[in-house]
Amino acid sequence: MKIKRFFLVAATALALPVAGMNVGAAEQPVKAAKSAKGKVSGANVFNRLLKKDKQRNAPPSEDGIHDAANDGTHVLQPPIIAYDGLPTTEFGNYVDWVKALDTGLLKPRYDRFDPAVEPLVMDLDIVREVKASMPDVVFPHKPHTQWLHCSNCHPKIFIPQKNANVITMSAILLGTKCGVCHGKVSFPITTKSCKVCHSKPKPANWKPPKSEASLKTPWR
């Protein structure tokens, strides 16, 4: 019995801080909402099921992936220091990388050895019409070619031909097509980033397309 008691005590001692941390994480948005609006009940916070980032750009030793017991972890640069002065966004790293490159705040090398090599930039916008009422997608080649090489996307991910690629949001969210990078490294798909791609408004006389079934047997 002594052994059992020991384990019970040990288990509860371990469980308490863990449970405490989780409770803290869950309550944080509630607290934030209360302080922002005064008397609002925490139960009705917008999308309470989606986790909110507890701490943006945490230093490596506190980020939950790096081992704080490892000496090398403390040598690493915390991201927040590197991001100082860069333009911000509301998603991903909270840094607008494309803007930072455009404004010359960042000058990453295009060649491993030679800092003078300039990227092969192509300025060509591709407009993809969206069937539903969402604004049409404009794909700008310019910011992509500033970072990447043609061979990164063509022809393996995108066939360089009009109407040859079927792209859906579900495919992107599952990590294919645009989702090979967007949602992993480049800006992710959040409710705040829709308009970055869906940026061309529909014409004023736009009407949703009718399905073949509704054309054959119309209701009225």
Partner: protein, 135 residues
């Protein structure tokens, strides 16, 4: 009595291995293909640090890194041979392989992943480490 002790022990182990809320930087890649099995901490690759210094093209076109966490089968032998990370981490462009702890800095047992990815948030777990497949 021993049974209850065993249950207590198992409970403790479960508590320790429960996923805790990680707040690592978006796009940090944990590579744990071989590290855990070799008794090393998994390697953590900070995407943000590298993209400040190099464009995507340098690693993903010139050096042949695939767009997949854990998909490159990087070993220390290849790195010392000048491939993958070793193309720069050779003491010339960047620091050399002697600094084990600067890459191998992950919490032991962390699975291969891109941290904060949309895929990770939607359907988990999508990434399988190579040695688990072998078993």
């Amino acid at each position: 009595m021993y049974k209850s002790a065993l249950i207590g022990l198992l409970g403790m182990m479960a508590m320790l291995t429960l996923p805790q809320a990680a707040q690592a930087e978006y796009a940090d890649v944990v590579i744990n293909n071989y590290a855990d099995a070799a008794g090393m901490r998994p390697a953590v690759f900070p995407h943000w640090y590298h993209r400040i210094r190099f464009r995507c093209k340098v690693c993903h076109a010139d050096l042949g890194f695939k767009f997949k966490a854990g998909g490159n089968k990087i070993t220390m032998a290849k790195i010392i041979d000048g491939k993958f990370c070793g193309a720069c981490h050779n003491g010339e462009i960047s620091w050399s392989v002697e600094n084990c702890g600067m890459c191998h800095s992950g919490i032991p047992g962390t699975p291969t992943q891109i941290h904060g990815s949309t895929v990770q948030r939607l359907v988990a777990p999508t990434y399988k480490s190579l040695d688990k497949k072998a078993k």
